[in-house]
């Protein structure tokens, strides 16, 4: 899959880019009050009724965005489907200033909207604030910590953890239960790997967290339907 993605990106430079995509690709990455200017296109969405999408959250792009049950999109979080459809699972928390998808890939190149750069985020994933997730796949229960970056086409396994400021390059893979700390050291989390009870606890904690956020963040699904 990752090979396919990269080849598509290479060939895309010679393609005629759809006009709408060039318009929508313009906004800056920085989230500010100007982020919700009319230039942003409203993407087609499927949002589960129990999901919480804050009023100030930004969902933009051309492709389909689906958000699963009990997922929380914080205010000022950005879900950008410029380059392909985005699927967000259940009990996912995307914190403020985090970017999922993204109009520009991590190498600064503008991504063209040929629709093949998909982003799947598994169940019970937490994307912490200011993290950038352009990954092809993020497995269940993973944590993308503050200011961590996941490059285009990367595949993150289940119950992985990216420590704050850690980064995974484009098309890299991380096996299940791996922790990546900032100097690029990988380490397997044996505690999670060998203890199903701990994993169950983790997912339960995530659910509790969602319940708490449900009280704190007013949801406005009508804006995106």
């Amino acid at each position: 899959m990752s090979d396919q993605v990269s080849s598509n990106r290479d060939s895309a430079t010679f393609k005629v880019v759809p006009a709408a995509a060039t318009v929508a690709a313009a906004p800056s990455k920085r989230v500010s009050s100007t982020a919700s200017k009319p230039a942003l296109s409203k993407p087609p969405t499927t949002i589960h009724p129990s999901a919480i999408v804050a009023e100030k959250a930004v969902l933009t792009g051309l492709y389909h965005i689906s958000i699963g049950a009990n997922s929380v999109i914080h205010p000022f979080a950005r879900i950008v489907s410029e380059a392909g459809p985005i699927t967000i699972g259940e009990n996912v928390i995307v914190n403020e200033r985090a970017v999922v998808g993204g109009a520009r890939s991590s190498d600064g190149m503008e991504r063209t909207g040929d629709g093949n750069v998909e982003v799947h985020i598994g169940n019970s994933v937490t994307v912490e604030s200011s993290a950038v997730v352009e990954a092809n796949m993020i497995g269940e229960g993973s944590i993308i910590d503050i200011e961590a970056r996941v490059g285009t086409g990367a595949r993150i396994g289940k119950y992985c953890k990216l420590s704050p400021k850690a980064s995974v390059g484009a098309n890299e893979t991380m096996e299940d239960f791996t922790t990546l700390s900032d100097p690029g050291r990988r380490h397997t989390d044996h505690l999670l790997k060998c203890n199903p009870t701990v994993r169950a606890l983790r997912s339960k904690r995530q659910k509790d967290q969602v319940e708490l956020l449900r009280r704190l963040i007013p949801s406005n699904l009508a804006k995106w339907s």
């Binding site: 700390s181 380490h187 505690l191 339960k204």
Partner: protein, 615 residues
Amino acid sequence: MALPFPYTYFACPCTETTSFSSTTDPYSTEPAGGAAEDEESTFHSQSPRANYALYPLEHLLYCEDCHQIRCPRCWVEEIMTWYCPSCLFEYANSMVKSDGNRCTRSCFNCPLCMSNLSIVGQNEETDKAQEGSHPLDKGQQATGPYFLHCPYCSWSSVEIGIQFDKGKEIYDQLQRIKNGGRVVMSQKDKEREQLKLRRQVSRGSISQFEEPETPKATEKESYPPDDRDLFANLNAFYKSQILESTGGSALGGAFGALSDYGISSPGTLSRIMSMYGSNLGPKRGKDKPAPMREAQSEMEGVRLTKDNDEEKIVESMQQMGWDATTSQEQRREHPDNMDATLVSDLRPVPTLLRTKRSKRCRTCRHILVRPEPKVASTRYKIRLLALNYIPSLRLRPLTAPAALGTGTPTSSVTASSIASSVSLDAIPPARSLSLLLTVHNPLFDPIKVTLATPSLTPPLRPNAPASRSRVTILCPQFEVGASGDVWDEALDVGAKESREKSIKDAAAALESNASGQKQAEAGKVWERGRNWTSVVLEVLPGVVNSPVPTARFAGEDANVLEIPLYVRIEYETETGPGEGASAVERAAGGIKERKEQRELEYWCVLGVGRIAQTA
């Protein structure tokens, strides 16, 4: 030089005791001898030695007794308290001496990433799950086996097979558990074991030398002993050797009475002497004891390398890959981890203790800095910063004094300085540059300042006289007003006249401003405030050629324009009855408040910027 331009460094006078001789100074262009005497009297800002003498003002202290600046070289640090930065527990000095400089309670750092480990009870959360309580309910008691967990890299002590029964005193518990969960024998058990083994050996008498080949099949032998065990064994072995050899010599000799004096006894000394040279010590003939033998087995403290040890390590490294091996930093973190090749050999690192230190003047032993001994407090009882005693010097380029005379003096000056954007990273060479030097007085007495500088700065490169910059201080002598409450001046009637004068000055400045630009005049202060005065410096930067890569001293700072500046301050201050008076005077009594003339002189270095290099 780390500070951004322009900067000011102060030279501690303690460097004057070691003079800068022209022979050691690679930047000296003067021929040896001749003008050397004259050269020595000024400060070489480019000398390699100057780096060790110059400090930013914030780093310096001031000794009130010697009336002198004090730098890290001329103060002594004394440790007041030891404490753990993690749990803030205060350790007594004796505890540090006996137990080492690490926290002996429950504070540990992650062996992988060095962040603090948290103690997690394994059954805490399972209880919660069973009860199905509300997520916001807290306060459940953690039970069951505990382990250490790193919140950053998710390392846990479960990985190395270590769990704890109690959630407290983890250090003691960890001492007793080896990696993999093996429980270590306590010291008493170990000694008993040793004694037993030794008895067996002595019963087998001659078999002592075959010991390594026939290891005893005790449960201890199944694991290689760690460094601590080995050291204990070695220690015990040599003690027994000393006892045996001295005891043996005492049997027939005249030194019987000294036998139990051990290694330091004269008998032992003479024996050692006779061992190394037959004609050195007193001849003792037949009762020469058998020389001490070396340790030969693990029981005696020798670690024997087995043939397949290294192969095993290589094999496991091949299997587990790069990420399973330890980095040098990880190994360096704690003596226990020094031999750890694999991550699974690492042990949690007890947190290093920190200290609170007081600082004393080396010359007069007076305390310069004394923090409050309480660990949680960050305040100081005594803190004599040079900042509060030494006038601070600030430098900035002066090019467009357009906004002068409007508003308060300070604000207008800063505004103009921002407006004037001379790039200090590329000063045009050989073009006159005006700089504004502002002297702030922190003292409560008005001071007389005298500035001096060599007319030519030291050359930036050896044998490059063109790189010397010409510096002129337009007003080398001036006064700076006293510091104090801002409102003192307004309320003080005596100051009224000076205030009126300053208003007149401001008006004059306005006039001159209207007629054109304010001109810097020789012998006149540029601007004056309540406790500050600024004067103009004119600099003609030298010409610096782009560096030759092979040049010996052409480092990255080879084009930095630095001006050595000599500052001399005179002021009159009121001294209290005790302060400043000699012991004799104090004993004589009757000394009350009196005026005292004080002076202070030191070298500074003003870092202006980098001179643009010409090809």
